[in-house]
């Protein structure tokens, strides 16, 4: 099933890429699900002109809850003991808030470098110890809260097709494991890798951004695709590969108000399941009475690479939004080359694999460019 999903993902990606486009980037997932939503903000994906620094600050609110018809019972990841315990947790919710500081600099007119520094606030709630804790093995509610810097991403970008009307930017990014991986829950237990702020190891990200002015200076089409591979961390956990595709358009609805740009984009994300190097256990069930509730039952003591069930997901959403160029609205040095934007991301289709699913997310931010060296705009 997963193989089929993976091949389907690759095929869709390949079809989109082959004519000249390609994919990749952004956020997390997993055993205790935690993702952040992603939308295309043009200034982030483009290569600025030589000597121009674009500074983008984006706030992102991403809630995750259970879908109707799912119970959220998932395995526990005991990294310290290298154990994968089936049916041991029941998810309740995750809320991830991110402020992403993004610096985008044009080294030449075609070559740029981008540094993204996320700061995250994450609250997570799940029931731990199913079959083990509580009078009837109902487990106990464990809240978790953490905040701090996540994994930085450094990306080199090259404008493959620099023309006035169209642009294709290829990017290659390295995700640096700057985020913490040692957060503990309210009970003092090490939180699972997917809920940590950092992934714990390097990730590689390839991306392609393409734009074309359908109606010059009025209506713009864009595509963004990304692929991320994260290497296994020291806790033996490996996040699944991530595929992102965005297709959208932005336009100036009123000629007399060129400072207002409306945007609509479709977003498709496919997450391959995670893996962990661990032994395999399961929670006790009433069928195990009189040892219920009781200790977990070892199914396979060998520590080996295992797929984490209930990870991997497919997500399809629509994101309407708008951008206001303050530069064109207010004549002030403070608003020069400055824009603000707001997007919401509304899920259309979600397959969360009995895990938490991303709800309606909100993004707003401000972007401003600075000319660091004398060149043209």
């Amino acid at each position: 099933m997963s193989l089929k999903r993976f091949i389907l993902g690759c095929s869709m990606l390949g079809l989109c890429l082959f004519p000249g486009l390609w994919p990749v980037v952004q956020p997390a997932e997993a055993a205790c699900g935690s993702v952040t939503c992603f939308v295309v903000i043009g200034s982030q994906q483009q290569v600025p002109q030589a000597g121009i620094l674009t500074f983008n600050t984006m706030y992102n609110y991403t809630p995750m809850r259970l879908l109707d018809g799912t119970n959220g019972v998932i395995p526990a990841i005991d990294q310290a003991g290298r154990r994968l315990i089936l049916d041991h947790h029941q998810e309740v919710r995750t809320i991830t808030q991110t402020v992403n500081f993004d610096l985008n600099y044009g080294i030449t007119d075609r070559l740029g470098v981008q540094v993204s520094i996320p700061y995250l606030w994450r609250t997570h709630k799940h029931i731990d110890g199913l079959g083990e804790e509580g009078a009837n093995g109902e487990g106990e509610l464990v809240p978790f809260r953490d905040n701090g810097i996540g994994d930085m991403i450094i990306t080199a970008k090259y404008n493959v097709l620099p023309t006035l009307r169209s642009m294709i930017v290829a990017g290659f990014g390295v995700q640096v494991p700057t985020g913490s991986t040692s957060a503990r829950d309210a009970a003092g237990e090490l939180m699972e890798s997917p809920t940590q702020l950092g992934r714990g190891n390097v990730g590689l990200i390839g991306s392609v951004y393409q734009t074309y002015e359908l109606i010059p200076h009025r209506l713009n089409q864009f595509f963004y695709g990304s692929y991320r591979h994260t290497f296994r961390n020291n806790d033996g956990y490996q996040f699944g590969d991530e595929y992102n595709l965005n297709l959208g358009a932005s336009g100036v609805p009123l000629e007399r108000a060129p400072w207002l740009v409306l945007t609509g984009q479709f977003h498709w994300r496919y997450l391959v399941h995670d893996n962990i190097s661990a032994s395999l256990e399961r929670s006790a069930t009433p069928a195990d009475a009189p040892d219920f509730p009781g200790e977990t039952i070892v199914l396979d003591p060998a520590i080996t690479n295992r797929r984490v069930p209930t990870t991997g997901s497919t997500y399809f959403a629509f994101s309407p939004g708008f951008q206001v160029s303050l530069n064109g609205l207010i004549d002030s040095p403070w608003t020069k080359w400055t824009s603000v934007y707001f997007h919401s991301q509304i899920p259309i289709m979600r397959d969360s694999n009995n895990n938490l699913a991303q709800g309606i997310s909100y993004i707003f931010g401000v972007t401003r460019s600075f000319q660091l060296t004398k060149s043209g705009l």
């Binding site: 000249g20 390609w22 023309t163 290829a170 390839g206 200076h217 893996n275």
Partner: protein, 185 residues
């Protein structure tokens, strides 16, 4: 499905994506614009002006030509146009011509702008972006100074033209000074 099989599929997927990326990159490479090197002969072009009259670069051989790529929505473009007009007024009888190439705009809008600002130099309409691509233009404005022999002498990106810069550049070209490196960066 076992994990090893998944890993190998992932690896194959990554390799396939890399190959696709390289292939697609090379396909679009040829479509991209190229900045003409200073010191090389500028490729000829032929466009209609606002009066519907054909204009070509080669017809101005023997004159210093300032080819300026612009649009009405581009503030740096419209800011430097009065300097171009002033220099054109001073030098158009002395072997200097301005060809202002508008990019992808509605003719009526361009005509209105030109009339409103009283520009008299030829304004050419690059409706399909072809000449901009030919001259490696992917941001506006861009100004290219071409000498009497059709050789590119200056390639300037951004709204940096002033009347003095244009006068100095034309004088330098007419004196046939050695070729100067590309832009004013």
């Amino acid at each position: 499905m076992d994990v090893k099989k998944t890993d190998s599929v992932t690896t194959v997927g990554m390799v396939a994506l890399c190959v696709m990326f390289l292939v697609s990159s090379s396909l679009v490479w040829g479509m991209g614009s190229r900045v003409p090197t200073v010191g090389t002969t500028a490729e000829d072009f032929r466009l209609l002006d606002l009066a519907g009259k054909p204009q070509s670069l080669s017809q101005y051989r023997g004159k210093v030509v300032l080819v300026n790529f612009w649009a009405t929505w581009c503030k740096p473009c419209t800011t430097e146009m009065p300097a171009m007009q002033a220099t054109y007024d001073k030098l158009h009888d002395k072997g200097f011509v301005v060809l202002a190439i508008n990019e992808l705009e509605d003719e009526a809008k361009v005509r209105e702008h030109i009339q409103q600002h009283g520009h008299t130099f030829p304004v050419l309409m690059d409706r399909d972006n072809k000449i901009a691509n030919q001259f490696g233009v992917f941001g506006l404005p861009v100004s290219v100074f071409i000498d009497e022999k059709g050789v590119v002498r200056e390639y300037i990106k951004g709204g940096l033209l002033t009347e003095q810069i244009i006068l100095d550049t034309v004088a330098r070209i007419q004196k046939a000074e050695p070729i100067k490196a590309a832009s004013l960066q």
